[in-house]
């Protein structure tokens, strides 16, 4: 059964009222967002996922693909701390591969900006959303991008290589390719040796904005990289072991603690996972059944850099995730113009929730 627009809106209003009753302030960001902000954040890929329109006065605008960015911007400009926000409304997602996917749907969200206790804020968002989904046939999964980031930072290799890996944390294929290259698993491209030896003479004129200095700097960086020892097979194995972790939270935590022995830089991030576990228990969440997947959240458009979670419809793999969320401290840093605040939030899809209710 496909719920009507009125039914979906009523459900959305009820969910928003629930968050409001829990202390969140209702916000209503505009549908049209300046395209430049989103393009700067997500790059050109966002054009494949959001609708772009324009006028001669304001230039390119996007139909909001989510609420997180405008809510963060609004908070960074005139929000008091700590703050909790809730919202309900339509988001627009361009679809070019699957005509069965909705390109316009209602989201209800809950966002928490709080410096005091990140683990408690994580648990609060997760538990509130879990409660709102109460009774529906959904399976939660959690993860933590922060652990992978800490593992990368702990690799025995150059800062340049770490920066390259960090830049592609959210692009698993490129991340993998970089790891293969940095660990010496792939050969140097043809012609590269001659370039590094200084044997390449180029008579082509300099055109475009990328200057000769920039080219020289990159050649120097390539030379430095060529004499950097490969990332060891042992370290590569540790990253792989980490990415393969997929277990109920207590078992996953004990695997993380094991890894900590060999990858001490992940200690703080693992401690955060453990603190979150305790905060979840305090809110009555059954962590014994709660899945933890170390690679969860790496392919979404969102800018999560810590805790991540999703609720999938059990037995309905064709449905999109019913609710998703996570921590996005880095996003507040990028939008804050110098300021930053730890932030965590999540969104639900009332339309899908009604479908599941109808089927249940």
């Amino acid at each position: 059964m496909i719920p009507s627009r009125a039914e979906t809106n009523a459900k959305a209003a009820a969910l928003r009222a629930m968050f409001e009753a829990a202390g969140a302030v209702v916000v209503e960001p505009p549908v049209l967002q300046p395209a430049e902000t989103l393009l700067d954040l997500y790059g050109e890929d966002i054009r494949a996922r959001a609708y772009v329109t324009s006028d001669a006065l304001r230039g390119e605008q996007m139909l909001r693909p989510d609420f997180t960015v405008p809510v963060v911007q609004m908070h960074m400009i005139h929000g008091a701390e700590p703050a909790r926000y809730t919202y309900a409304g339509e988001v627009f997602r361009r679809q070019e591969h699957d005509p069965g996917r909705a390109n316009e749907y209602v989201q209800v969200g809950y966002e928490v900006f709080d410096r005091a206790d990140p683990a408690a804020a994580d648990a609060d968002v997760f538990a509130q959303i879990a409660e709102a989904l109460g009774g529906l046939p959904v399976t939660p999964v959690t993860g933590d991008i922060g652990v992978l980031m800490a593992a990368v930072q702990g690799l025995q290799t150059s800062d340049a290589r770490k920066a390259a890996l960090m830049r592609h944390i959210w692009r698993p294929r490129r991340f993998r390719a970089l790891l293969d290259r940095f660990s010496g698993r792939v050969d140097m491209p043809e012609g590269r040796r001659a370039l590094l030896a200084g044997d390449v003479i180029c008579d082509a004129p300099m055109i475009g904005r990328r200057s000769a200095t920039e080219i020289d700097e990159r050649v120097a960086a390539l030379r430095a990289d060529a004499v950097t020892p490969p990332i060891s097979a042992r370290e590569l194995g540790l990253i792989e072991t980490l990415l393969d972790i997929r277990a109920p939270m207590p078992a996953a935590l004990s695997m993380l603690h094991d890894l900590e022995v060999d990858l001490p830089t992940i200690s703080a991030a693992v401690a955060q996972v453990d603190a979150r576990r305790k905060a979840l228990v305090a809110l009555g969440v059954k962590v014994e059944d709660l899945n933890f997947e170390a690679s969860f959240g790496r392919t979404t458009m969102e800018y999560y850099d810590g805790f991540v979670f999703g609720f999938r419809a059990g037995g309905r793999p064709e449905l999109p995730t019913i609710a998703t969320g996570g921590r996005y401290d880095a996003l507040t840093r990028r939008l804050g113009g110098g300021a930053e605040i730890p932030a965590v939030g999540g969104v639900m899809r009332p339309g899908l929730m009604l479908m599941l209710e109808g089927a249940a």
Binding site: G43, A177, I207, G208, R209, R218
Partner: protein, 231 residues
């Protein structure tokens, strides 16, 4: 009913298409004055010729207003999402061959692969505070290709013609465009990335999967395709 065949309305593409059909006993021609886009078909009944821009043929096939159409693979892939569900390739016509490639200034001795392009884009953004610009008219194909290959920190800027000149003119740092011999690229001091081939294209005869074929249309199509040796 008449089966509608769409053919590019001018230039070499039109002439070569006419030749290809003529070699198979179907004579296509423009009628009336040079400026009038009307056409005639001889050698088979109930087929009408529609002359229009090669760039509009994908849309007309997808809408079912044409049964058959001649246009490049590049335009079909660029303009139609899920093109496999909308059109079938009937025959490659062995002309109009061109590759959609990514090209950068030849002076970029440090950039040979997409991996290099990605690293250069990251550094460029740090230095200039803007994303590295790639000029193209093939937005969808290029974006999809770069996404699959994990290239970030670039911006696509629209260029509907003379794209090879954009780098020299300072409106882009790199380009993605169609090339056949590579001569224009070389003349504009550009080189193709070794793994920068996005698509091999050539003029192709396409059949719409959605055009209505009742009232004998199917029979006409069957006869026409048989005559073209594509039954």
């Amino acid at each position: 009913m008449n089966v509608k065949l769409g053919v590019p309305s001018k230039g070499r593409l039109m002439e070569k298409t006419f030749d290809w059909f003529a070699a198979r006993g179907v004579r296509l021609s423009r009628t009336g004055s040079d400026r009038e886009y009307a056409g005639a078909v001889e050698g088979i009944d109930n087929v009408s010729l529609v002359l229009l821009s090669a760039g509009e043929i994908p849309r007309e096939l997808a809408a079912g207003r044409l049964h058959l159409g001649v246009t490049g693979t590049d335009l079909i892939h660029e303009k139609l999402a899920l093109w496999e569900q909308l059109v079938d390739p009937v025959a490659p016509l062995k002309f109009g061959a061109a590759d959609l490639v990514i090209a950068v200034p030849r002076a970029w001795v440090d950039v040979d692969t997409l991996d290099d392009l990605d690293a250069a884009a990251a550094a460029f953004r740090r230095t200039h505070g803007m994303r590295l610009r790639i000029a193209t008219k093939y937005h969808r194909l290029v974006r999809e290709f770069l996404r699959q290959n994990g290239v970030a920190d670039y911006a696509l800027v629209d260029s509907q013609g003379a794209t090879e000149g954009t780098v020299m003119n300072g409106t882009a740092e790199a380009i993605a465009d169609i090339t056949s011999s590579g001569e224009t690229l070389r003349a504009n001091h550009l080189k193709v990335l070794s793994d920068g081939l996005i698509l091999r294209s050539q003029a192709t005869l396409w059949r719409s999967r959605v055009a209505a074929t009742e009232d004998g249309g199917n029979d006409v199509l069957t006869r026409l395709l048989a005559q073209l040796g594509q039954a």
